[in-house]
Structure formats: structure tokens, C-alpha cells
Amino acid sequence: MQSLRRKSLWLALSASWLLLVLLGVFPLLRLAVPSRPQPGASPGWPRWLDAALLQSFSQPGEPAGDAPPRPQGPRRGSCTWDTCVDTSRCKDGLTVFAYPAAGLTSERHRGVLASLEGSRHLTSSPTEACLLLLLGWDSPAGGCSPGPPLWNAGRNHLVLRLHPAPCPRASQLGQAMVAEASPKVDTFRPRFDVALPLLPEAHPLRGGAPGQLWQHSPQPGVALLALAEKMGRWRVVADIRSPAWGWDGHCEQDPGPEPTHPGERPPNATFCLIPGLRTEAWRFLQALQAGCIPVLLSPCWELPFSEVIDWTKAAIVADDRLLLQVLAALQEMSPARVLALRQQSQFLWDAYFSSVEKVIRATLEIIQGRIPGAPTHPSLLWNSPPGALLALPTFSLSPQDFPFYHLQLGSRPEGRFSALIWVGTPGEVPLKLIQAVAGSQHCAQILVLWSSDRPVPSRWPETAVPLTVIEGHRKVSDRFFPYSAVSTEAILSLQGHVGLSTSEVDFAFVVWQSFPERMVGFLTWSHFWDEARGGWGYTAETANEFSMVLSTAAFYHRYYHTLFTHSLPKAMKTLADAAPTCVDVLMNFLVAAATKLPPIKVPYSKPHLGAAALAPGPGPESQPPDPDCINQMAAEFGHMPLVSSRVRLDPVLFKDPVSVQRKKYRSLEKP
């Protein structure tokens, strides 16, 4: 009895609770969740009955006015390229005159000037130069007014300050452009000044300090966040929800960057949280190098090369007032985004910041891009590998002409190639080779580069494709000149006495189409560190790995001819001309520096002859490899760019136990 009553009581109680919940909570929920606008019953902006009758904000026929042209010239200390630069001096593109290092200049000062010497922009005439470059970071004490002879209120001048100077500020430099490390945001003149990175004192002049990112994704178990602390220290944050942020600096109290002290290395973390003070700007570069994604909180300084670099792809710049939201966002960030940010930050480090020379070259490229009519890099070229310094705008302004961007553009390399046959001193017409190459269905044209003392023969074999003879200058570097006669993206570089079959050419070309940015070759060399000599060496001996392919027989993109001719310093090309085996080393260095990848080897049906035997007669390859060459190149590049590979790409059915009739590249099957 009692239990029955108890039961009914409970039943009533729970029923009423249920009702309460149903009736009470839903309207409350409706209040709590901001209602989405629904058509018809929208609580938002009303649909006016007479909306159709409303008048337009601009009445047709309203006079656009005809005020006279505005007075030109700089106002309020602000400058733009159009107002503060005499562009008539820049008709031939960017020509730069660098004031010579005078008086008490440091070793580094001279080093910077020396690194400029290789630049294609440099000119020796100060009166004709578009830009007069003044190195102004360590002028003697009290020498705050630069006042060089042709100062002219700073017009057409670029004051380059790799290190922050105590004086003067950008506004006092009049009409001179200022390229300064970590400039203050409020005095920086966008599209006029250039923001430089704050480099450490001991930054390498050339080559570059390598990035420290060894793998694409963060290691499991690695800390999510490292925090920049005072005195140049870093701290790994265990609990990201309460990171104990010790910074409260504002831009107003910012004393400006000091010469950097090599602080502690950033710990192994995915993100590096850096305060926005200018005194801490040096950490930004440190994080980039370490492969730690920089998280900048309201920086008081302009990010380096912000005019061209899309920093949203490589760093996170957020408002310090929303610190907790930022931390939550970091924690929730998708692996895809983390992966992309990590790689991009490392790419940028390597492309623009790892040496003083790169920083200066990037600065000049940016200024060149402002000259109307001068070739400028599209954003894609700045922001994807290999970077704007290795993708010359003089080659083309269309990214699809380069070998690097087919994926991003959804395009494919063309289906045809040009054979470029170099004929050296004996001057024999390589009949067999011409026939074999012309037999390829992919061959578009044959170019013979005649570099022999003997006169060009008047009779050439009949071929299915056009054959053109170019007379060379008997210099080895001629082989990599960007001849306008080359009409295809792909070049098959050949030397007169190489024996190739049509099958081999066809297969190698099909492989090249999969790797248009690399060199695809038949004959290889490998480099090694010679412990005994304390230097690099290289060998043509048969080995389990290789790092260079010989241009005696190799496919590559024609862009590399432009890069070879227009980006390499004269000294290197002279070196290559003096020691002919060197030219192949140089070309391989160049392509490896651009791609960071090894070349590709394809099978060659006469391997038992060995690479040396392949080049009989007095061709340059017959000479023994010259170890001096590779060491000089490594010194010029500032590092060893070559990468070794242990892979050869063969046809899918290569030497498989299946009928030859099934195989596409039969002539490769011969023992």
C-alpha cells in the first residue's frame, strides 16, 4: 500500500520534472542561442515595403567633378615610390650604385659590398644609377647625418641598415628609402621602405646557416609551445591553459632593438610564442631557423619583407589582448595547418634569411618590383619553393613557364623536347646520334652547337624534325646559354660522341615529365667527403649512389640555362671555362641548390663501358675529375648543395621475366 503511494508520488514527481524541462528549458535555450536569421521571420534588418522605391546613393548624371590635378610631391614626411623617387633614372630597370666603404668600416661592411658585386643590378656610375645604396649601420659615432656627395635630400637613395642604428629615424632621412631591421610599425612607409630581418651579429655572409627542420611533421610527444622569456631564454610550457605570460610591454615604451645576443636556442616545440617588443624581434628569425612556428603577439615592428612575403602562411600574428583565444586556437589547430606552417617557415628561412647575401638580394628584388614596367615576381614565386631569388623574372612572368609550379597551377610540362648537341674540337658530325634522337616521337627540334675549330659542314643528314646549327664561342659555359632558338621547355643536352638509342631517349623524357624540375641523366658522378684531404672530392666510378648527372646526356628544363647564365657570378663561370669538367659540376650545384633534391638516373644500355669509356677522344669529360673545382664551387656557394640518391628509375617491366613483346622499351633489355 505504502509502496504504491510512494510509487505514484515518484511518478508524479518525475512527470512534472519532465514537463518542466520540456516547457522551461526550450524557451530558455532559444534565448541563450543567438537565433539565426531565417527568411521571413528574421529578427534582423527589416524588409521594407517600399525598398524598391528607394533612391540610389549615386544619381546618374551626377557630375564626377573636374577639379584640377592635385599638387604632386611628398606630404607630411610620407613617401611613395611615385612621389619620392626620380623614376626617369630607372628606365633600364634597377641599377644600383653602392657608395664605397670609406674610413672605419668593419669586415662585415666590406663583406656586404663584396656580396653585392655578384649582383646583376650593380653599376659603377653614380649619376646614372636608379638607386644609390648607402650602408649605414655602423657609421662612426656622431655620423648620424649620412650626407654623401649625391645625397639630394635622399632622393633615389637606399639606406641599408642590417643592424639597428641609434639614429636617425626613418622620418629624418627625408626622401631616402630605408631598409632597416625590424622597423617600427608607425614610422614604416609601406611600399617605400623595406623591412629587414634582425640578423644576429655572426650571420653568415653567403651560403647560409641551414634550417633545423629535418622532418615534415612535429615529432610525437614534442611540446606544443615554447615561451620567450626575459634574458633571451626560452621555456617549454607544460600546461597551455595557464602559460604565465611575463610580458606586458607596449610599443610606446619600446627602446628599440639592441644588437642581438645569441640567446639560448629555442627548445624543440611546435610553436614559439614571441612578444611584440622590438627588443625581442631577433627571436623571430631564431624560431624560423629552428623550425618552430613563430606566434607573434601584436608586434611593434614590421615583419621582414612584408611587402612580398605572405606571413600568414608561415607564422601566426595575433592580438596580445586575445592571448587565451590564441592559445586555444593553437591547441585546436588542424595537423594539416601545422604541417603547412612548419614547412613554409622553414622554406622562407632558407630562401631569404639564411645569409646576409640573400637578405640584400631580396631587398633589391623588392625594390625592382616597384619600378613600373620592370619584370616583377608574382606572389606565387615569392611564397613557394624555390623562392624569388631562384626564379628569375627575366625568364618569364608566367609561373607556368618555370619548372617549379606545375602542381599549384594544375598544369603539365609539354610533351616535346629540343635536343641540343654540342660538337667539340674534332668537329665530327654525330650522325648516329642525330638519327637516334630524331627518331623519338617527342623530339621537336635538333640544335647543333658547333664549337669546333673546323668550319661548319654544309651538309647535314635529313631528319624528320628541323635541324638548326648554332655557332658557339668555344667556351664551355656556352652550352648553358639560353638560346632563343630553343622552343620547348625540355632540353636534351648531348655531346657528339654519346651513343644513345631512341628507346632510351623516349623513356628518359617520359621520366623527366614526372620530374620537370630535376635533371634526368644517363651518366652519373658522385661526390664524397675526402677525409684525407679535408675537402670534397668526386668520382666517375661505378657506385651505389650518385649526386650529379653529366650534361653529356641529360634532360632538364630550359629555365636552367637562364639561371646558369644570369644568376651565377662571373667568377664561377670563369672557373668553369678554365676547367671544362667543372661546368657539369657547376650545373649540378645550381640545380641542386634550387631543388634541394638529387638528380634522377635512368638506365643506359652500355653500362659495362663505364662513364669514362663513354666519352672517348678529347671531349672534356675524358679528363679526370678535378677536386679543386668542387671545392671552389662549394666555397662560392657557401655550402655543399649536392644531394645523393641510391635510386635509378627503370621501365616498369625492366628485365622482368616476361616476353620482350610485352615491353615498351625493348632496346633497354639488351645485356
Partner: protein, 718 residues
Amino acid sequence: MCASVKYNIRGPALIPRMKTKHRIYYITLFSIVLLGLIATGMFQFWPHSIESSNDWSVEKRSVRDVPVVRLPADSPIPERGDLSCRMHTCFDVYRCGFNPKNKIKVYIYSLKKYVDDLGVPVSSTISREYNELLTAISDSDYYTDDISRACLFVPSIDVLNQNTLRIKETAQALAQLSRWDRGTNHLLFNMLPGGPPDYNTALDVPRDRALLAGGGFSTWTYRQGYDVSIPVYSPLSAEVALPEKGPGPRRYFLLSSQMAVHPEYREELDALQAKHGESVLVLDKCTNLSEGILSVRKRCHKHQVFDFPQVLQEATFCVVLRGARLGQAVLSDVLQAGCVPVVIADSYILPFSEVLDWKRASVVVPEEKMSDMYSILQSIPQRQIEEMQRQARWFWEAYFQSIKAIALATLQIINDRIYPYAAISYEEWNDPPAVKWGSVSNPLFLPLIPPQSQGFTAIVLTYDRVESLFRVITEVSKVPSLSKLLVVWNNQNKNPPEDSLWPKIRVPLKVVRTAENKLSNRFFPYDEIETEAVLAIDDDIIMLTSDELQFGYEVWREFPDRLVGYPGRLHLWDHEMNKWKYESEWTNEVSMVLTGAAFYHKYFNYLYTYKMPGDIKNWVDAHMNCEDIAMNFLVANATGKAVIKVTPRKKFKCPECTAIDGLSLDQTHMVERSECINKFASVFGTMPLKVVEHRADPVLYKDDFPEKLKSFPNIGSL
């Protein structure tokens, strides 16, 4: 090895025994609940007490009926705009702190009619465009009607055209808005700033800290990173439909269509026309039009009459010259026509220049270089011109063609400043849909060769073939670069063998038990995977030599963004059946590798588990087949690259090779696999697989060279 933990928690008895002395307590409780119920009911059924404030919006009303607000002559005026304002100094970001999903919330003040002391209106109440603009915001995800949760406030006071309003009184009207607070977080839209005679380039209405979305900024008035530069909307966008015209050479190389051009500039244009003849066309307003013809839609050259804006489609380049104002509506018309704008307006901040890359769609010529314009334009390669024509049209379609497009782009820009970690990328802003569709952004784009020392993790998926599994484990453990072995035990009915029975190997061995027998379990991103390289291997693949596996790992290091596998397969187009076909014969080409033995980056496990498009994952688990084909599709689609098949063909134990019951099983299997390819291609909307004719062998494979000197001698043995 992991031990499984079993949970067996028994809950406490649900209902405690009720004691008499508790009865009063329960009755009280009951009454409270009843009271609450009644209260809620009244709250609920009371005639619309909660939503009554919103009620007026549902019914349609006229603009003329809005409440009138009288502004006293001495009511406060805001400070003039502060030129030093930046987001960090003038914007109260804390108001945006509680917005979910990284989306700012925008509040719109209700419409009022403002009059001065004498009852004279301050401005025309609202223009058609501003009404459209507020409607667009109100219909968007940004909108909130809760003023206390808003991060951005948009006044309904229409300041699109400065000429239609009284400056001081409009400023007073702004100042009396309920959350004005010196204009903090308020956004004003203005397209036609300034007035005669000197036409300022920003709205003259004093507005203190308010953000300005302005249509004619110059470098002097634009506060970079604070204001937003917007287009001057062209009403012709809505009136005239210009169908997209393919890029390519057009009848005129250069055209000028503006009517109010300063005489000095018109002289320059006429000089250009005189010099270059037919290829340049300079138009002016028509003077001798008969009555009734809308003069804004006609342009004349001498006595020749042209339709505007249609004539713009006849030109490759179109001049956009500044008038009294820097921002010109003709820019929108020119873009719509797919004509490349030649912008001649020194110091003009182009619309949305914070995010749009105008170099790709326009040519900017300094005013003093006007006479060189022709030669500057002629130096642009044809291909680049065509690219610019496409880009110009795309900018119009995405950001110019309607007031809604302009409003939403403006809010997106401000949103991205506040939540930069969730910002839209350069490509999303600038790439036309055709480019976006075709382009691939490889998730592993940085060219690097991972260090050999890290090694790889082998993942063996197994059900109950213990003997074969143990053999695989023993074989794989001989590979020098193996760093860990993970056995995915997919059998829920049977426990894995005792710890002591497992082969003793030199690397850690972990067994993961799964909740369900699904093929997808093979590709789960297990926490136990500590290396970047993963070797997926079936529990019956015992024919691969240690050299072959080690070499496979070396190949993966050189191609870390690809699937590197042993048996290769091909997809073919079956012309008779008009669909894809799976091919396992000895072909010269390969487009897939089986994941019964394949190396790949562990990131693809994440992609497979969480980002597989459509219902492919479920399809695979339901059919118990094709997980490898799905993985091939996924990787090819993400990277745009082909697989790498390693080493010569071997006899593999695989369904299509065993053919236990002769041909019939074999054929069923092939039909199923073909079906998978067709199904996946339709889900992906494309065929991402890439066909190649190469495979990877060691450098000296089959070369005439002493075997003992080769790094990988034991390759290809059957």
C-alpha cells in the same frame, strides 16, 4: 604489449528507501516543482512576451514610418577621425572575445530618421544600396541582434554618399548612438567621400575612432590595417548583364570611356589616339542624342555612338582615370567587361588592396607617365594580358558585382584581422575558381630527405593467421631501419597470443586491439607511430627480402610525399563500357601500389581516417575491400603525384594471383576492384591517379658489377 582493462562498475541502488520523516520533504519538493511548472507555463503561453521586441520586423513597414529623432543643435560632435588609429590602439578586441567559431558578431542599429531642431531632415533616410548592404549583413552569419554580444556595430545612418548628408548633424547623430563610445568598434560605409571644391579622399563626417570602409582612399587618408578600402559600386552591375567574354585580343587595344575627364588629361588621351590611330578609342559624352535616350548608357567618339558599358568588352585595356574623386565606379564596369583596368590615380588605394593582388588584374600608371602608357602596356606579354583579363572578370564576380559581395568581403577582412589564425588565404582571395579547382597544394611540399636514423614503423594488420604473422614479424625485424612493429589485432572474438609466444625481436613490438573488424583500422593514426615513415604490410607477405624492404625505405626517404610500394597496379579507361577498369596484368605502366606492402608518410593515416571524402571509408568497411585503392586515390589527390613502385615484379600472395577456384573468383575480384575505382572517381569528382612508366631500382640493379659490392644485392629474387 598492452593489457586490456575491463570496466565493471555497478552503480548504487537507484532509489533509497523512503522514510516517513522524509515525506514532508518530498511533498515540499513536489510543490516547488508544481509551482515552477505553472510559472513556466505562464511564461510560455503569455502572448509572445519574449519575442515581442522583434515582432515589428516580421510585419512589413515603410521606410517613411521609422521613428523620428530630433537632434538638439548643441548635441555633442565626435572628434575628427584619428589618423594614428590601428587595431591595437583604437579597436576594443575584448568585445570579440566570446564570439564562437572565430567569427565576429555584427550588430545593426535600427533605422531612425534624424531631424534638426527645426525639423529639417539631416539626410535622406536610407539609399537603396545601403538598405541592400544592411540586408546582406543581416542575412549573413556575422549578424547578431544581441547588442551586448556584438563585436562590431554598424549604424543605419547612411553615409555612402557624402553629398546627400549634412556633415555636422550626421556626426551628432552618430554620437548619440547607444554604444557609440567614441566610435569604438563602429564601422561606417562610404563610397563617395568629399565634396567640392577640394574633394577629400575620406568621409568628412567627424567619426572619432570609427572604422571606415571607404571608396576613394588615398595613401594620405587610409589607415593601413584599420580602414578598409572598398569599391565604388556601379549601379550598372545590376542593370546590365555582360556575358563573360573569353580572353584574347580585342578590337581596341586601349579605350577611355569616362565622361568627366579633366581637360589636361583629355588632351593627353587625344594625343595618344592621334599617335596610335585605330587601336586607341577615346570616348566622351554624347552631345547630340535625341530625347528619351539614357545618356549614361551611351558614349560618343566624334559622331559615332557606342553602347555603354558594352563597348568596354571591345577593348583589351581600359583607362580608369581619377576625376575629382580617386575612386571611380567605372572600375567596376571595366572589370565586369573583362577589360584590364589601367589605373591612373596617384596615391589611390585600390579596393580591398589588403587582400587582393591587383598586380594580377590591373596596370597602375603614374599620372605623369600617362604619355608613356601605350608603350608600357605594349611591353606586357600576350599571355599575361589574357591572365589579367580573366583575373579582372573574376574580381568583379567575387567582390564588385553586388553590394552584398562588397559588404561581406569588408567584414571578412576585419574578421581575419581579429582571428588571423583562421584567416582566408591569399589563394582563396585571389585565385579564380578554375585555378583553385585544378591546383594541388601538396601537404608535404618542402623538399627534404628525412634522416635515415629515424627508421620506420611497420604496421601489420592481422585477424587470426598467427603462424604467418609470426613469420612476417621475424622477416621484417631483420630490416636494419625498422624502429618499431605494431600489430593491429582485428579479431574481437579471439585474444592475441600470450606475450611469451611472440617472436623475440630487437625492436619494440606493440599489439593494438581494435573495437571492430574494419579494414580502416590499418590506416588509423595510432599514437604508437613515432616515425614519419610507416610500412603497411599484410600478415602473409613473407616473400619480401630484407634488402627489398630496406631499399623501399630508402626510396621513401627520397620521395617522402608518395606511396612507395611493391606490387603495382593500373587503372584503364574501358572504351566499350565507358568506365574505369582495374588492371593487374604485366603492363608497362603503373598508377597504384597495393598497400599489402607499402611505405608512406604517417600524415596520410590522419587524412585517411579524418579527411576521406564522401562515404568512401564506410564503403570500404562495408565491402571489406579496396582500402588500398582508396589510399592510392587519397594520396594522389592530396599530392598530385604518382606512386613509386619499387623493385621487379614478384609472385605475390594476393587475391587476384591465388585464384583458388580458378578464373571465377579471380574475375569477381577484378569486377569488384573496378567498381571501387569507378565509385571513388565519382566521389572525388575527378580521377586523381597518375600513370607513370617507371619503377625504382637500386642504382646498380642488374648492372655488370660484382654483387657483393652492391648495397642491395638481394633484390628481385623469386
